[in-house]
Amino acid sequence: MSADPQAACELPPNVGQDRPPILELRNVSKRFPGVLANDDVSASVAPGEVLALLGENGAGKSTLMNVAYGLLSASAGEIVVDGNSVQIRAPRDAIRLGIGMVHQHFMLVEPLTVTENIVLGMEPTNSWGLIDRAVARKRVVEISAKYGLKVDPDSRVMDLSVGMQQRVEILKALYRDARILILDEPTAVLTPQEVHELFQIVRELVSQGLAVVIITHKLDEVMAFADRILVMRAGRVVGETTPEECSEQSLARMMVGRDVVLKIDKGPAKIGEVVLDVSDLVVLDDRKLPALKGVSFAVHGGEVLGIAGVSGNGQRELVEAITGLRRPSGGTVSLKGRDITHDDARRTIAAGVSHVPEDRHRRGLVLEFDLVENVALGDQRREPFSKHGILNRSALDTEARARIKDYDVRTPNEHVAASNLSGGNQQKLVLARELGRNPELLVASQPTRGLDVGAIEFVHRRIIAERDSGKAVLLVSMELEEVMSLSDRILVMYEGRVVAEFEGGQVTEEELGLFMTGGGRTPTEPSRASEEDTGA
């Protein structure tokens, strides 16, 4: 490794602005059926510069960058690279022009090795035309040394952590000699520590002359790492600024178009009886390996218990075990003193557990069903929705109409397919069903993923309303900010165990992050949690 990573951070922040841009997007528009996703957008980035593309979900940031990468074709506009107007019809054109992109959902072929993934599409070949594996491996090792991106070239991608997979993605772009690197929501899946490492890597890349575009909706990251900020809203660029010239508050106003309450309003918790009691829970994952290794905790009425953790540390299995979607192999789950450990999903719902699943398209809704049938899902065997196995269609319609009104689902009528609703309205529909059933316990997993600020506020208000009405809420989220602002208590999960417990409002993101990566367990760590609660 030639360059010292610390040196990069000492560069003046505005170094990029003096140079001519390497990539320019001029007056780009992109129309989808019924939506103008980009409306006359212009943007540029210069070598040695970190440009942040800031905007909330659905503002058109990713669309813009997908146009630049050739994954989408613009309806109008021009792309200029090195001062020349270019046509980018497919990713291969973008690659040829030196544009690399790390997508929000990684574009990695899981069963293949790191090296195979990196060289895929540009494989070095020997004189026989066969892949020269030795050369491929050597190139990968060289590049990862040059930029300080350590990764085992021979591991299979499926065995790597998320942070490692992201490195492979960056290496993929560098292997193709990318001069412009686009990172789409790169921090969404990382711990605070990994975020820090990522931005060090970015600084290193910029110091070696790359241009970096970061797509994000996180204000603090933008303030900390961007050289220049472009704010997008509803498909348009609504402002350009630098971290020096603005504040988080002013950025938020630009991004949303109105004043935003960054902190959620909630009163003190009125803790009630234990509603959910989980003890020594052991659950296997799909590969029959233990995903939960003896987890114990309780959720009381009137409180929100937040679960923080890096994706893949057992949260999904925990949620599935509580909601009856996965059979625990040990331990117990009880609801208000009733053992529901071995109940299936139908009985669990009947017992009073509602579930807002992490993926509303896959788990939350039957997109082809109309709104009425979606509202019925889970209650279809119960009166008044059905009797003796026969549906009561008029009762269903009435109930659906009432819930749609209560939860402000914007729809022409209750008989359109759920697929025709926007993301925010789809999530409201899920809430209308799950909360409208008046549960004892709400299990909410990533309840605001992919929503715009308005919908996020709505979901948060409803969750707090549940809590304030004395119900128990178990919140699982990868968004630390969300966990911290909503929860009355926070548990941190790491490798299938609860490794720490905090009172809400008494912990920083950094502290949580430390435990999320297993770091907090070292005896020297001062903020170590009480071990008796981990059920180990």
Binding site: H361, G364, L365, R393, V416, S422
Partner: protein, 381 residues
């Protein structure tokens, strides 16, 4: 849709068009394509058939008019059309019910064979009973036999994830050999021909024109009316019962159904068995209304034609009746066509295959529609 990029629809929070309006338009367009596809598909398939006939040096107009006369030219012809539509109503319903719950019952043919076997056996066994008892009992036993033949593939699908296309197909071959053995061995009528004994009159489904004598004599039997009743019952099950609701939920999205407390495995088993039971009825009505006995060639691929029927009907039970009559008329008219225009009957399989292709792949028709629109300079959707 895990591959959906963050900013593409349906996540259209940035919509500059009124959302409600968009949803309505979307719904209307989808419905339009859904309604038009079957008709366009039949038209294209007939066109393809004509080209094939033309290529073989024959006159397609003469061929299709002969076919039309053969199918609808008189009471006898219409009766023949209904006769041939009867098993297709049941196999069409069988395949459609499977599709609605996300299952492709390609093996309706095998379940039909078992249904026919049960009908022939029970028909003979219940010989002494009045038809009022024996006919329902025979139909019931054929349904059970068809369901039983679907049960192992259903179990394998539900518990192991073995694809029902392969397993039900294998059970079709096994079922055919089973019937072939039974009519040559243990259940063989006297004489040289491998066939079962004849079922007594009390076990038969009478011809409609024999009961209502004001109708000119034809071969259509009461099976078609049972078929219409079955279609209405299946429609009702799908729309108004928890059973049907759960089947559709699993068919559209098993993961969401599971989350909603529906047992995907149990629903899969139930649905494939119901599908098998409906296919079993096809075998029963063929034995009870047409042949009055069982032999190993008693079905000319009704189970497979049922796939075309279901797809053409867009899996709508009432549409199945109409589609079955269409295919019944093709089959009834094919003989006349061969006789008068010299065109091989097999051309109807080509038409069938084309229809499956076009309707099954709805995208093909919308692709064709958009091509036509573009050629006319219309707006591209």
């Amino acid at each position: 849709m895990p591959e959906q990029m963050a900013d593409t629809p349906p996540n259209r929070a940035a919509s500059t068009v009124d959302e409600k309006q968009f949803a309505l338009e979307q719904e209307r367009f989808q419905r339009g394509v859904r309604m038009a596809t079957p008709f366009i598909s039949v038209a294209i398939a007939v066109l393809v058939g004509s080209l094939v006939i033309l290529a073989s040096g024959k006159d397609p107009v003469a061929a299709f008019s002969a076919m039309f006369f053969g199918a609808f030219g008189g009471a006898r012809q219409i009766g023949e059309t209904l006769l041939r539509a009867t098993p297709l109503v049941f196999t069409g319903l069988a395949v459609a019910y499977g599709f609605r719950s996300g299952l492709f019952n390609i093996g309706a043919e095998g379940q039909l064979f078992l249904g026919g076997l049960a009908a022939a056996f029970m028909g003979v066994a219940l010989g002494g009973l009045s038809w009022m008892l024996s006919v329902p009992l025979i139909l019931l036993s054929a349904m059970i036999a068809g369901a039983a033949w679907a049960f192992i593939p259903a179990l394998m699908k539900a518990k192991l994830g073995a694809h029902e296309v392969i397993t039900t197909m294998m059970f079709t071959y096994i079922g055919r050999y089973l019937v072939s053995w039974i009519v040559t061995g243990p259940f063989k009528a006297e004489g040289a021909i491998p066939q079962s004994p004849m079922i007594p009159a009390s076990s038969q489904l009478p011809r409609i024109s024999d009961v209502f004598t004001f109708i000119q004599p034809n071969r259509a039997h009461f099976g078609i009316l049972i078929g219409v009743v079955a279609a209405i019952v299946v429609w009702w099950i799908l729309k108004y019962t928890v059973l049907g609701y759960e089947a559709r939920a699993v068919g559209f999205n098993p993961t969401a159904a599971e989350t909603g407390g529906i047992s995907v495995a149990a629903t899969t088993i139930k649905s494939l068995c119901i599908s098998g039971a409906l296919a079993g009825l096809a075998g029963a009505t063929e034995v009870m209304g047409v042949h009055y006995r069982l032999f190993d060639q008693f079905s000319s691929g009704f189970g497979f034609t049922g796939i075309a029927v279901a797809l053409l009907a867009k899996n709508n039970p009432l549409g199945v009746v109409a589609a079955a009559i269409l295919f019944g008329s093709l089959s009834a008219g094919a003989g006349t066509m061969q006789l008068e225009a010299g065109v091989s009957q097999k051309v109807i399989s080509i038409i069938q295959g084309t229809i499956i292709f076009l309707v099954g792949a709805e995208t093909i028709v919308s692709w064709a529609v958009s091509r036509v629109r573009r050629a006319r300079g219309g707006a591209d959707v």
